[in-house]
Amino acid sequence: MNIQVVDGTQVLKHYRKSQGYWATVWMEFKRDRVALAALGVIFFLFLVAVFDDFIAGSRPLVLKLNGKIYFPVLFEYREFLDTDFKGVSENLKRGDFVLFPPVKYSPTEYDLLSVLSPPSRAHLFGTDDRGRDVLSRMVHGTRVSLSIGFIAVGIAVAIGILLGAVAGYYGGVVDFIISRFFEVMITFPVFFLILTILAFRNPSIYNIMIVIGVTSWTGVARLVRGEFLRLRKYDYIEAAIALGSRDLRIMLRHMLPNALAPVLVTATFGIAGAVLVESALSFLGFGVPPPDPSWGEVLSQSERYVDFAWWLVLFPGAAIFMTVTAFNLVGEGFRDAIDPKRKGRGF
């Protein structure tokens, strides 16, 4: 180490080079190979969810017909409004070509000639009770599951931060009332509550997100409340109050960043939970409404048949399992990264 007298600008330069908090967390996280692999799985699922139409669907990616090039997967063309692209592809002239997505069935396309057929070259994951391609339904179900997971947890985190912050910051009567509210939410059998609310409303994808969100905020709220109660006593908060900062600014700028990392860890586990709840709801018939695909819905079909349609059990179940495991692993790696002392201690 070379010691030298430095002027102010040099110190500043040196300071800039040091890592921020999140960079340190990321460094720590990267060392956990398993968690990193799980993050890769989530990234893969995310890509599948975003590009589901490009992976599975009955609309061609590119179609060259009569010398003109079309992209039916991206745009709606007036000349193809009610066209079955399978028919178009069979009557191609010379020089024309068609390129379908890797799975060339849409998730809602019936094929009553091949109902409940086991995996084959035509249908890699088999077909369900209406001859719909299971792989295509699963690809499109990824979007349903992930968006429900992310948005439901987003709602839960927002409610949790709001209530936890207010309770922890103001304390006293406010804290008392909000704490009783926590207690009420904790005592309810949440799954039964979700089922009840959905039974009385339309089980649309939005209602499922909202209901899971408003029933699963207690973990985040408790965490934020505890952190705010602790921070409230710190001198720098006193200083901020003395300087005349508004409450909202103190909460958002000075206190919340300290609680953010553990909240994100809780949220990651929450996504795993929400995906599980959604698939259980779909399994029981309270999930995403019928034509829309969902992993739990595919799995639930297997229960209705005496013959063992193993592909209806294995593939969707494995998808749910893989997603839940990946989010749990990332959550765990993330938690170890923000608190390396507890590394490898589990829950």
Partner: protein
């Protein structure tokens, strides 16, 4: 101590009010008024035939003609005497239906929780003592996998493989007793019951088992780093005594108190598992009530299970204070 208990009991009052409020308004403010639902599920009256008179009569019959806050007050007064009204589907008193179903669910969950604790504590301890070794890593990995398996998926798989679906026909997959089991002698009846509940209990148990084992491992590891254990080793105590007498006692406290948070989840889990295995318990009753929109039954199950859980939390909080002298009665939130 007495003031602490008194304080906790007083704090129950607003929570109980909150539970009844949420239950009541979630069900009552749901779109689609109960009368039309009732008429739909009722005796198959045609839509045109529902005159205003019938609507008014039905409203009066179920007390729905009064404003909602009056109905809430009436309902709270009723449940204070454990009167949950009559079921919309078969007109039997709700409390009677619940009394019939509760023992089955309780039996399943008590057996499940018993198994969870008897397996997960030794497993967690073993894993913590062998921290970093191959045994620990295998157990930890296996538990992690177990933790992420959806219970309904496992149920379907078990039915296919062990319930006479495709491979072995080892376990029954329907109900809790064989037909005609009422006339069996006691031991045979007990065996028949155990035989029937094996698969459902496996499905109810493995998730909590995985969670608690990992929790036990983590909690023991935390204690193992404490100074007093180094002292215990330094003064020459055998390792078994260090672990079981000094470390485990401290590590058990969070494990025992976590039972309160398992309880509400147990009711939710029962809904799925009891429906799959056709077990006549509270979970299946609740699921059927939700399907047929049987308001009184839904409200009764939600309230009763919330009350039971609240009692569980209270007991575990008191137990916490009793077993751990480091926690003061007043200092705890």
């Amino acid at each position: 101590m007495r003031t602490y208990i008194l304080k906790r009991l007083l704090l129950l009052i607003p929570t109980l009010i909150g539970i009844t409020l949420i239950t009541f308004f979630v069900v009552q403010l749901a779109p689609g008024n109960p009368v039309s639902r009732k008429l739909q599920v009722g005796e198959g009256i045609k839509a045109e035939a529902i005159t205003q008179d019938i609507v008014e009569q039905t409203k009066k019959l179920y007390g729905l003609d009064k404003p909602i806050y009056v109905r809430y007050w009436i309902w709270v007064k009723q449940i204070a005497t454990l009167n949950f009204g009559r079921s919309y589907t078969d007109h039997r008193p709700v409390i009677q239906k619940i009394e019939e179903r509760l023992p089955v669910t309780l039996a399943l969950n008590i057996i499940s929780i018993f198994l969870v604790y008897t397996i997960s504590i030794p497993l967690g301890v073993y894993s913590a003592v062998k921290q970093g070794d191959i045994q620990d890593r295998v157990i930890t990995f296996f538990l992690f996998v177990l933790y992420s398996i959806p219970s309904f998926w496992l149920a379907v798989i078990l039915i296919y493989f062990l319930g006479g679906g495709e491979f072995w026909d080892v376990f029954p997959i329907y109900g809790i007793l064989s037909p005609g089991a009422e006339n069996f002698p006691f031991y045979k009846k007990a065996l028949d019951f155990l035989w029937h509940i094996t698969l459902p209990v496996i499905c109810l148990t493995y998730g909590d088992l995985a969670y608690l084992s990992r929790y036990q491992r983590g909690s023991l590891l935390e204690v193992l780093h404490e100074d007093f254990l180094r002292t215990a080793r330094a003064k020459g105590l055998p390792e078994s005594k260090v672990i079981f007498k000094h470390a485990l006692r401290n590590a058990l406290i969070p494990i025992v108190t976590i039972i309160a948070s398992i309880l509400p989840a147990a009711i939710g889990g029962s809904v799925i598992i009891e429906s799959i295995f056709s077990i006549p318990g509270i979970g299946k009753l609740g699921f059927e009530a939700v399907l047929s929109r049987d308001y009184p039954v839904i409200m009764a199950i939600a309230t009763i299970s919330a009350f039971l859980t609240l009692a569980g939390i209270l007991i575990s909080d008191l137990a916490y204070v009793l077993v751990d002298p480091r926690i003061s009665f007043e200092g705890r939130k």
